[in-house]
């Protein structure tokens, strides 16, 4: 798994909810899943530093869902999993936490989790490529200003 763990949740979050839930349920059928905190959704303030004076201020609120679990495989191996998502579905956060733990600990079912992370990463990469394309296709080339022979018509 070449994709770093800090990108797993964001990659999984773009996939259809049912795919995440099914994969998590499959892992939970084999491994014992314990919730360390109540999977919950709510709000958090998004805080930035302003560009003029670098003073912190709250831009507004974002939905967040959070879950933290411990997985125990039949052979006794344990792994912790967690997720915080900009989402209002706590069951998705829990599913992502289970996939995060299984993948990190190479527990039974980790291959499914890895495949989902790869699929989500590809989708994210596509989004990022689209942002880049919006920039690249609209880049201003000031060097073309003032060249001889240029029309003066507006």
């Amino acid at each position: 798994m070449t994709i770093p763990r800090r990108n797993w949740a964001a990659a999984l979050a773009v996939l259809p909810a049912q795919d995440l839930v099914s994969a998590a349920e499959a892992i939970a059928a084999t491994c014992l899943v314990s919730d360390l905190v109540l999977p919950q959704s709510g709000l958090a303030l998004l805080t930035l530093r302003d560009g003029a004076f670098h003073e912190p201020f709250h831009l507004g609120e974002v939905p967040v869902a959070r879950a933290q679990v411990v997985l125990r495989a039949p052979d006794g191996r344990e792994a912790g999993g967690g997720a915080v998502l900009l989402d209002d579905r706590s069951n998705i956060a829990r599913a992502v936490a289970i996939l995060d733990g299984a993948l990190a600990g190479r527990l039974p079912g980790w291959e499914t989790a890895a495949a989902l992370v790869a699929r989500g990463s590809a989708a994210r990469a596509q989004s990022l490529a689209e942002y880049q394309h919006l920039l690249a296709s609209t880049r201003v080339d000031f060097s073309l200003l003032g060249q001889p022979g240029e029309d003066d018509d507006a």
Partner: protein, 374 residues
């Protein structure tokens, strides 16, 4: 005269809801609006409602727009009402806005900025001529638009993020350095504004203010009821990654990204004191979603309010109480709308008082020495 009863009308109220639904559904196409259509094809409308609702939830903003038939004030209200039902779950670390994945980045003050200028998706240079080809848009042609745009992609070797123009100027010594202040920012969702307020309270209030209100106030300043002659140092639109500590590893992980608009304006300021040097002053505006007019207006008002808070306001746009108490769309729309609620008792007592006063004025004068009844 007895009190006028304010009971009854239940059937009429239920009927009003049904009447509004009837108008919403009276579309000859017979097709209900899909939320994705609102979110994408009306993305700027959705952006506006997201920022005025104060909650970054594009899908719910689209739903609110659909439910309230396009009324942005009501839709923002619905989003605020929704957020009031959710608990405050956690605190996020302060996010560095320099990590924004820009889709638009321009400067009108400086031509050569580190990383270059990219117009991005903009109507700034478009002719305001109606495109009648959009009237009966062919679905196949519609679907081909995205494919065609992406297919013509030049190789993109752009960086993931761009430094802020002002930071680059600071690095060159053209702007004074800033201390990273550590104060706790004001939370307008928990505390009311009690004047004088901090700048963070002003920024938070304006960030979820109604666009037209901010624009009008900023415009008054631009037109001369103020001294801010601004130039846009940088305007950027893009997706800000939101980083949080991973619950297990504690390492920063990405929880998602938020579309936002950010603007810094720079203005020359001369105090009128011949001994004082003229200097640059700065203003900052930011909001959820893609809303440039709002960010620019907010930046101008930030600059105006800084002056008003320091030297005392000379114009309405410099007066924090005048600006901050009148730009919230839910507050202002709510108050305007409440005038439609029955005020029968209030008005009845006004009428009574009017009649009494008029009767007194017409009555013959009492003799001197009599007590006059009030």
């Amino acid at each position: 005269m007895g009190y006028v009863a304010i009971k009854g009308g239940r059937a009429a109220i239920d009927g009003a809801a049904a009447a509004a639904e009837f108008l919403r559904a009276r579309d000859e196409s017979g097709e209900p609006l899909r939320l994705s259509a609102i979110e994408h094809q009306l993305r700027l409308l959705t952006s506006r409602v997201i920022s005025e609702g104060g909650l970054y939830h594009p899908r719910l903003a689209a739903l609110a727009i659909k439910q309230f038939q396009g009324d942005t004030l009501e839709a923002a209200f619905a989003l605020r009402a929704y957020r009031s039902t959710k608990p405050r779950l956690m605190a996020l670390p302060v996010q560095p806005s320099t990590s924004m994945r820009c889709i638009r980045r321009i400067s009108s003050a400086f031509k050569d900025i580190p990383g270059g200028q990219m117009i991005g998706p903009s109507y700034d240079f478009a002719l305001r001529l109606l495109r009648f080809d959009l009237a009966n848009e062919d679905p196949a042609a519609f679907q081909a638009v995205a494919r065609r745009f992406l297919g013509a992609a030049p190789p993109a070797d752009l960086p993931d993020s761009f430094p802020k123009v002002l930071d680059a100027l600071r690095g060159e010594g053209l702007l004074p350095p800033v201390a990273a202040s550590q104060g706790e920012p004001f939370d307008i969702t928990r505390e009311p504004l009690v004047f004088p307020v901090s700048r963070s309270a002003a920024l938070a209030t304006m960030a979820r203010a109604e666009t037209g209100s901010l624009l009008a106030m900023a415009y008054s300043n631009m037109r001369g009821y103020g001294d801010v002659h601004p130039t846009v140092a940088e305007l950027r639109v893009g997706y800000l990654p939101v980083l949080v500590p991973h619950p297990v590893t504690g390492e920063p992980m990405e929880a998602g990204e938020v579309l936002m608009t950010e603007c810094e304006v720079v203005a020359m300021y001369e105090s009128g004191n011949p001994d004082a040097l003229p200097m640059f002053t700065l203003g900052y505006g930011a909001c959820f979603g893609h809303n440039e007019v709002k960010a620019i207006s907010m930046a101008i008002l930030d600059r105006a309010l800084q002056k008003g808070m320091r030297d005392g306001p000379e114009n309405p746009s410099e007066d924090p109480e005048f600006v901050l108490l009148h730009v919230d769309g839910v507050d202002s729309m709510g108050f305007a709308s409440h005038y439609k609620m029955p005020h029968y008792v209030t008005f009845q007592s006004d009428l009574d008082r009017l009649r009494t006063t008029q009767d007194k004025a017409r009555a013959p004068r009492t003799e001197v020495g009599h007590e006059s009844k009030l």
